[in-house]
Amino acid sequence: MANFFLVGLVMGPLLFLILSGSDLNITPVSNGPMFYLAALLIGLGTSIGSGCTSGHGICGLARFSLRSLIAVLTFMFVGVLTVYFSTLMKWFIQ
């Protein structure tokens, strides 16, 4: 059943493109090694932490789960810090 959900999830944005006739604006923010390091971290993090923005953020918070609340606060905090320091680094490199 989960596989059917995933197939639908892949089809959804395609349907959106066809139905709306507009283009999706996708601007990547990282590339090369940093991009794939992020992929590894997202994979590790979501399996060790048992969820992501959808699992903890939408479903977990909707169920009033304490674990999900702690998870969301943690990854929001770390995400904000990561963006802060990476913009700082980019500014210095330029």
């Binding site: 059943m1 059917f4 959900f5 197939v7 639908g8 999830l9 892949v10 089809m11 959804g12 944005p13 349907l15 959106f16 999706l24 604006n25 996708i26 601007t27 990547p28 923010v29 990282s30 991009f35 794939y36 390091l37 992020a38 992929a39 590894l40 971290l41 997202i42 994979g43 590790l44 993090g45 979501t46 399996s47 060790i48 932490g49 048992s50 992501c52 923005t53 959808s54 903890h56 953020g57 939408i58 977990g60 909707a62 169920r63 009033f64 789960s65 304490l66 674990r67 702690i70 998870a71 943690t74 990854f75 929001m76 770390v78 995400g79 904000v80 810090l81 990561t82 963006v83 913009t87």
Partner: protein
């Protein structure tokens, strides 16, 4: 059969919603996380909307079905915040902040941008696999 169709439809609705809300655009996610810079709070509404609809469904319907099937409100009562939860969420936050991507939008982008996302997806799946082994060790 009916269940599979419902699952497919749920995926399609989720995918259209993500595309419509701009969640597939990494620079928009970074804008949301960039609260010390040019902050774009609009994605908070996606989250609030998603949680509101889900909370209604969860507490009106899903809870009852779950109790019927398992005799237990999974995740509603006693929960322990453990080490894997904190470590995992920290690692995920790092990856999220570096790329502006999280698992839902990653899967949803596969058909839109197969060239850019296939290798990313493979690395992510390796992360998921090794993560489950690490989790078993530290639990």
């Amino acid at each position: 059969m009916k269940g599979l169709l419902v699952a497919l439809l749920c995926g399609v609705i989720f995918g259209i919603g993500l595309a419509l809300a701009g969640m597939l655009n990494p620079s928009k996610i970074i804008g949301f996380l960039n609260i010390f810079g040019l902050w774009d709070p609009s994605l908070a509404f996606v989250m609030i909307g998603g949680i509101t609809v889900n909370a209604a469904a969860s507490h009106c319907f899903i809870k009852k079905i779950e109790f019927k099937q398992t005799r237990f409100y999974g995740g509603y009562f006693k929960e322990n915040v453990d080490k894997p939860l904190i470590i995992g969420s920290t690692l995920f936050g790092l990856g999220w902040g570096l790329s502006g991507l999280c698992p839902g939008p990653i899967v949803a982008s596969l058909a839109i941008d197969p060239g850019g996302m296939s290798l990313f997806m493979i690395v992510l799946m390796f992360g998921l696999w090794s993560g489950s082994r690490i989790k078993a060790k530290i639990t």
